[in-house]
Symmetry: D2
């Protein structure tokens, strides 16, 4: 029986490699050898605090949910994939029986089994098994890292879809972290006339500018003084003050999508929302985004390789998490289980 290396978070601050059995794909499933896994803020948060809200690490947990790799085995009744295909993984399996799933909103399924969310394991491992319909073949124009980063790209797509970004729309993205940088590029691909990104971190602002985005350092120019009146706000900072200030610039009939996790309480100007009939919503993961993500990535309309700032092997997952947490120049660091 084959075994593999798995990086396991035992409790907050305690992570290490263990040996586990390689799983076997069942009916309709495929076995993927993981090549690249992006380190997300949620991974860092679990590592540091052992929980996110109601999700508590009370048993060993495998982190990582931005994963790409290669199909190595297919189970019975799989016709869409073959061994050897390079793939990207959509990291949640919904129940497909509840009202949300049957309505196409499977991201809101209360029983979704989502990677790296207790009690479900993620992708910091050499192999994993997934239903074939959540594994997507990618062309060679998409790098291994970029295959994994179709996950944050999907977050950006979901935001632009929910905000109805199109030509004729101006978009403000608050927060130039990896999600913000990608969401801004996605908004541009959706045809937004003008996309502006704000942050206070000069490394991130420089990266935004390098990707052709308008970048504003709000420590120097408060957003209220920047002369913007965006049709759409994609909030990616998770910062309550930034949220309040950016919201207060949104145009009449504007749309706001809250992507960043910003604590327990939302505070906004009520007259601004009411008098302008601004529509506000959250973005919780995504649904049906991978085909679009592959198109945006393969055509070069959204550059994800630019946000990659470091690579680590599986045994160095702790170093990867630490870099993501503490290095101000880090944007997206990558764990490569196969190395």
């Amino acid at each position: 029986m084959a075994t593999m290396q798995v990086s396991v978070l035992r409790k907050a601050g305690d992570i290490g490699v263990e040996e586990r059995e390689v799983p076997t794909p069942g009916r309709g499933e495929v076995l993927v050898e993981i090549g690249s896994v992006g380190v997300c803020g949620s991974d860092v948060h679990y590592y540091e605090h052992g929980r996110i809200g109601r999700f508590v690490v009370d048993a060993p947990l495998v982190l990582g949910h931005e994963a790409g790799g290669v199909v190595v085995e297919v189970g019975p009744e799989v016709s869409t994939l073959q061994p050897g295909q390079r793939v990207s993984i959509e990291p949640g399996v919904p129940c497909r029986r509840c009202r949300q799933c049957l309505s196409g909103r499977y991201n809101l399924c209360p029983d979704v089994q989502f990677f790296a969310t207790p009690p479900y394991d993620g992708a910091f491992c050499q192999y994993l098994v997934m239903p074939a319909e959540f594994v997507f073949a990618v062309p060679d124009s998409i790098s291994d890292d970029a295959a994994g980063l179709l996950e944050p790209l999907s977050v950006g797509i979901w935001a632009s879809r929910r905000a109805a970004v199109a030509p004729g729309t101006s978009v403000l993205v608050t927060g130039a972290g990896p999600i913000g940088i990608i969401a801004a590029q996605v908004a541009r691909a959706y045809g937004a006339d003008r996309v502006t990104v704000t942050d206070v971190n000069p490394h991130r602002l420089a990266l935004a500018a390098q990707l052709g985005l308008e970048a504003i350092d709000v420590s120097a120019t408060p957003i209220a003084e920047a002369g913007l009146e965006p049709d759409v706000l994609v909030e990616c900072s998770g910062n309550p003050r930034a949220t309040w200030d950016a919201f207060s610039t949104v145009a009449r009939a504007g749309r706001v999508v809250l992507v960043g996790m910003g604590g327990d309480e939302l505070r906004l100007s009520l007259p601004h929302l009411q008098d302008r009939e601004i529509t506000l919503t959250g973005a919780f993961r995504y649904a049906n985004t991978w085909p679009t993500a592959i198109q945006l990535a393969a055509s070069g309309r959204v550059d994800r390789d630019a946000v990659v700032t470091g690579h680590y092997d599986l045994a160095s997952a702790e170093a990867a998490l630490t870099a993501a947490r503490t290095d101000p120049t880090a944007v997206r660091v990558i764990v490569r289980p196969g190395h």
Copy 2:
């Protein structure tokens, strides 16, 4: 030159009748003799405080914007109305040149001339002139008071439209004042499967129950314990605590429309909004609602006469405002300029 009686608010707390010239309808305009004007909370607020937010009564102001009456004269090029027709007035005239107007969102026109909002006068008067397209003939099945109360009915229609109420939807309305009572009936007319109204005022709860609505006294049963998980919340209380509590019961993919004016700050549970992808928006007046309001009223699907709790003549406008403000049994009081 003909003159008429007009009730004028000179400053907070100072209201009285004056004599003014009867206006003459210009091209495309009609002259309406006002028969009934509902007293809205905003009228009371101007009377009491002399301002609402940035709108300040710094010159004499005529209150009242829920008006019905009879056409007495039509100006040149008016083909849709004739003298003698009973009508309801839509109390705002948008610019029809700006981006909002041309997009059909004329309620968001920054230059709208809205009744009883400084510096524009309202309907506490015997006659007024309006463009014909904002004056709607009503059938005899709609009473004089009900013609005026097509205005709050429009507020309810706007809320149901923005919340996409339809069969298959459960609706929670917070606040059983006149707007809440009407909005709840409108939600039922839009096909909502279940409509629940909350309040703490027993008179209002009794009225809701009498109209066949499910009514909950939240002073006895906190909303969190009522076992509700509404698809739609129509917030009509303007109470921040009620808003927070009711919002926290909304179902996944639910819609929330904030109708009540509740101060400068909106506070909500951010995880509830994000994890459930709830969509939240304001309702600022209405657009293109009168034809629908007439249908709902004429067919008896929404009862507005039931909310009328008193009538006053023009000279008694102060008494009407006081009743609306202080009498716990008052729901909607009416000023009748013609009496």
Copy 3:
């Protein structure tokens, strides 16, 4: 091993009862004892012609897809239903893996297994097994027949949803057969201001009138002369001439849903469609309609018992099909396998 009676269509015109094994519910499935099955035009068509378009009866087929009954056994992992519950069956099981299914449009699933559509059997039988999520408990206010007739009610809901029927909408329904009669009542429940039904069959027009619908005999009053300009057309006649004529009355920005099956070719006035920007679409079965159908039926907003014009036992299925085909007074006939 238990057996049951099943009515089997062997080929066009050849139908008879056979003995088959009672199936056993697997994981997530329930066994339903069928109480009532409506006879649909498609059942009649298979009986008469042995095919519908590309679907050919080249092996024995069980007809019937409008089914209600009682749960008699539940398989492992079923928590939503219990033996003894009265239920209605949604008669299609989609693949839940394709793009259409994951987007919530499972009615468009190319691999759906739909009752009484070759090669999948239907409900003219005593027992059948279904995944629990397509079996819905119904309250006692819904009769056995009405439980089965939630299926055509779902067709009506789907039409009103796709046409965005709401207060402020006038609706024309062409064809007062069982689908048209139900679709018209559904449109009224969605809040349509005015619902008009057309047909040439006096029995059907009388039934429409009895249900409070405006009914027009187009053999006496051509639709073009009826003075209608509906916002919505729900075409249920399948008659090309009726479709052309009714379409030509639709208002600017109107919506048309084609429900009736009317041959291979659609013909419409192109200038009418273009100049008025009318939006036209088909309705193919339904998705996510059962919860709404139960609400509309249980509250009495849509009467389905009124369309029932005869009952037959399983051995008399041929007589039921013949009545449905040839009796001008028949609206919906019912097969009762349990009798």
Copy 4:
């Protein structure tokens, strides 16, 4: 009193220059000196046949509705424009009082005064007066010709809006005339993953290919054999056979917008529409497109200069119309009244 040259169509085939008074801008209006006017198929049709459907040239008519120029005088109460500004003209003035106008669908206004449509004159003249809100300043990156060609660009925008083109969408455009070429570029700017254009004219196919569009010669490769299954069809050929064939390739839940004028009758495969729930609509001019058109043009996302194949002065309008009608290499010819 100043006079100007105007090209007047007296009746079919009879066009010539006349002298007329230069009009004076009234309140809210501006006087524009016309620099460039594109020659549209409708201009050619009026010239050739003296009518289009119910619109008959029974009095002298000025053709041309794709116009750009320079503001030379502003009337009272115009604050948005100044003399000297280069502008593009939206060539229709709706009534702004009807239900369609107030709903934002002013393109469907039954009383719109649209250029070059009897009895309203167009832009084959040196000067004309327009309400300021239908005159849009353009940046210098938009050429004179391109300013006029914001009109066909608006047609393309309207098609992409109505078809909800976005990333994740594949688009088929039938007909590579000026409208099709522009509509295809617009679809790409809206983020379509793949845009394919069909025609049989090699000059037009070459132009499409030169602009980076996938081009198919359907005289060589019938569309049914091209392996396409587009999500969106934008029909710009006006050819009934091309419409039928292209429609028959559209994917499940696809959207079809009929832009081309193709006679009195629409014929489509009804089972294809119903089984796939394809949504079909017309595009009648446009509403609220100019700000977006300016953005798409100024940023270079849509190239309109490439479609210009010839320039003519006002006295040569007949030659321009003839070239547009008969020269197979002509795409869009331009009349320049100022030359």
